[in-house]
Amino acid sequence: MFLSTWFLPVALLATTTFIAFPLSKYLAWIMEGKFKAPRFLGWFEEKLDSGPQDWKEYTAALLIFCTALFAFGFLVLVLQPWMPMNPDGKWMLAPSTIFHSAISFMTNTNLQHYSGDQHLSNFSQIFFILTNMFLSAAVGFCALTAIIRAFRGEKLVGNFFVDMWRVVVYMFVPASFIIGVIFLQQGAPMTFDTFARVSTLESPSTQQTIVVGPVAAVEPIKMLGTNGGGFYGMNSAHPFENPTGISNFVNTMAMMLFPFMLVLMYGRMLGRLRHAVVIFSVMLLMMAGTIVWSVYFDTLKPNPGLTGDSVARTYEIPSASAPGGKRTVTVPAVGGLPVDQHLGNLEGKEMRFGTSAGATYAAVTVDVTCGAVNSEHDSLNPIAAISPMVGMWLNCIFGGKGVGMINMLLYVIIGIFVAGMMVGRTPEYLGRKIGAREVKLALIALLVHPIMILGPTGLFAATDWGLKAVSNPGPHGFSQMVYQFSSASANNGSAFDGLGVTYGLANNPAPAPEAVPWDIAAGLVMLFSRFLPIVAPIAMAAYLGAKKRAPQGLGTLRDDTATFALLLLGTILIIGALLFLPVAALGPLAEHLGPIPFGG
């Protein structure tokens, strides 16, 4: 039991780290432009090259391209009914859902308010999903590259379009192909048919209609690009997306791979590998922490909904209408159900991945802001669900493609600034003095995240928009709302699936009643939380990089030591805890401590 619980997470972390070190060299080599492409590929590169850009031009190009990508995605979804590969004539998604989905995939979030198997044709799966998955993942990657070049003091930070081409064609496509073949061998379908129809064994008159499609093509980039939007509604829990224990291992590793490598690429391109390794260690430590937390509380503990509590409990709660301002509520005792739970909480878990695979995946997918799920997060043990939430709140435990590292840089700047204030010395990063303007920009980027989570959650929790959408009672209903906006703001894409946010196709006679406000609010949150934390840090890096490099002195805070690692860890935990502890207490903690079951 000990081995079968801990082997998987340990092996995942070790293997990915082991691969990331040599492969990050290849990434740096490509982004430096040292890779000379074969002639026919070089032609495309030349066609795209609009010449070296300064940071403003680079950012403008990035924003313009994302706008074009949004328009393209919107168009493909709108045209779904008239496009080929749609044998059962699926109508278009509801307009608000199209808006939401186009933003969601363009921002690398992949929060899905629809169900791929029920609502998308294979044409949309290919032309909407694949395009966005390859390109949106590359955008964050390019933003980080621009920041690195700015930090190096380069006025011209490269060409956005050439960078995009390099990332997509020289990295994502070949890597996806290799992983795709592995998935195929393991059992992922790869066909342009939509359905396989079978007569079930027990009663041959009963037909089972099984949705198939180009799953093996979507799956690799979904993981490698930390996109996370499933071909099927239940994502990587679906047996076609994730057929075996081996596919699950490869799947989990694939989403960790690029976030791991990018941190090291940062160090390599700056010539500061030791510094990057320190940051890497801090991230690895936090990731191990979130995994241990969720595995301990979900795999090694039973589902508390099925266990017994032999004493009745009485709670005193404030109530304006009751005499004395207080009302007592008695929670009756519950009997233990005779269920063997030695494998932990199995509600919402698949069996074939392994004992701790669901809990491990839940932690990893939010840390690297992938958002794919291989179990139902809504059904995680209440206290275990804190782990995925913390991953999204901190948003820098490796984080999404490029942007995770950018978020971490913000914490680095703030950490150094705070440390500088404490010792009364001008703070420096990479030999350059951090001024008020840089700190302001860093804070703007950093504060967008909590504002975008807490603000809308408060609004929805106070109105029918939220109250009529939650599917579980009490604090868990609140957790569902917090989770949705955390996922949107972290550009993660996983969800507590019970929340009623699915409108479905535009002609759906009975949509979830509050689907439209959720579509719009989550869409806007994703938009702001994606682009402010990309634009502000690029500006910050450009201003910082433009300053003169001061020689390293005795009093300089060294950024490649264990002390620095502790400083960074402390900064992250304190800021994270201050910002999000209250909602954690109202949601998962209250659920864990309060009566289970909650009400009848």
Partner: protein
Amino acid sequence: MLKSISKSLWLLLFAVVICCIVYPLALWVVGQTVFPFQANGSIVKGPDGTPAGSLLIAQPFTKDEYFQPRPSAASYNGSASSSSALAASNYALRNRVATTLGPIVRYGSGPKDGQLVAPDIESWFQQDRFQDNPSILLQWADAHNSLAQAWVAADTMHAQYVTTWASTHGPVVEQFIKANPAIPQPQPSDLAVVFFETFSKEHPGRFPSLATHTDSAGKATASIEPAGTGTDIQSTFFDMWRLDHANVNLQNVPGDMVTTSGSGLDPHITLQNAMYQLDRVAAKWAVDTKRETGSVRIEIEALLREKAFAPLNGLAGEKLVNVLEVNLVLRNRYGVPS
């Protein structure tokens, strides 16, 4: 600006060609030539040579001759995967598990070791006392309004029964309307709780259950009648019975047997779960094939052990069996279940 727009469109075009046409086509060629079985959905053929299912997608099995998959929140619908999304703190989860358990749970020790608890739940229900208070049904409806309403909404016959009841209990309905001015014209499900309250007074120790009668002409008619026995009682009131018998030792049921999977289509069960079902399966096949139970049991157990595998060769989890794979062998070996 204009330059960026035109370059953006070029990039988009190139990406669509490479990522949406070249890349999937390359994988498609590999799939259809090297891995055609997997690439088309791992479809296996039944005894008559027609496709009988996908090895990766669970399908429903209800007959006792077959091993049964995990319960499915998607009703085994291969085109709409879904989880239950029930939180641990949601009573609906506990209730779903308890209702599954009621008819199948057995004593784990004592004089009745190995016997079903179901008959005892029925006799306890007929005595109609829960935690030293009279009327089990009344307490159930009071504590679980939503379950009472769900019962009414579950079936048109249930709703009809409540409507008929309402027409003969005018004063009760009037009192309900007076107490709930927001519902001037109550629907059957609104009346669920008061219905059960009155029912428990009029029929103590009884539950409205489906009964089928065959008349002299051989025609069957179904109706709802107060009953003191039946699976309705065994499943609905197991949770309350358990609380009244908290110290009774019961055999644990394998966890994966009563929990739904993430996709609702999980094709596997644990070997432990299969072993739990083995007695039932073997006994039934023995009857069907007119053989001795012991030898059939040995055959099937050998089959399970042969087909069992563990994730990552046992490094990551416990042994599992594929339900369709095993049932297909049983069907081919022993014929059509009667």
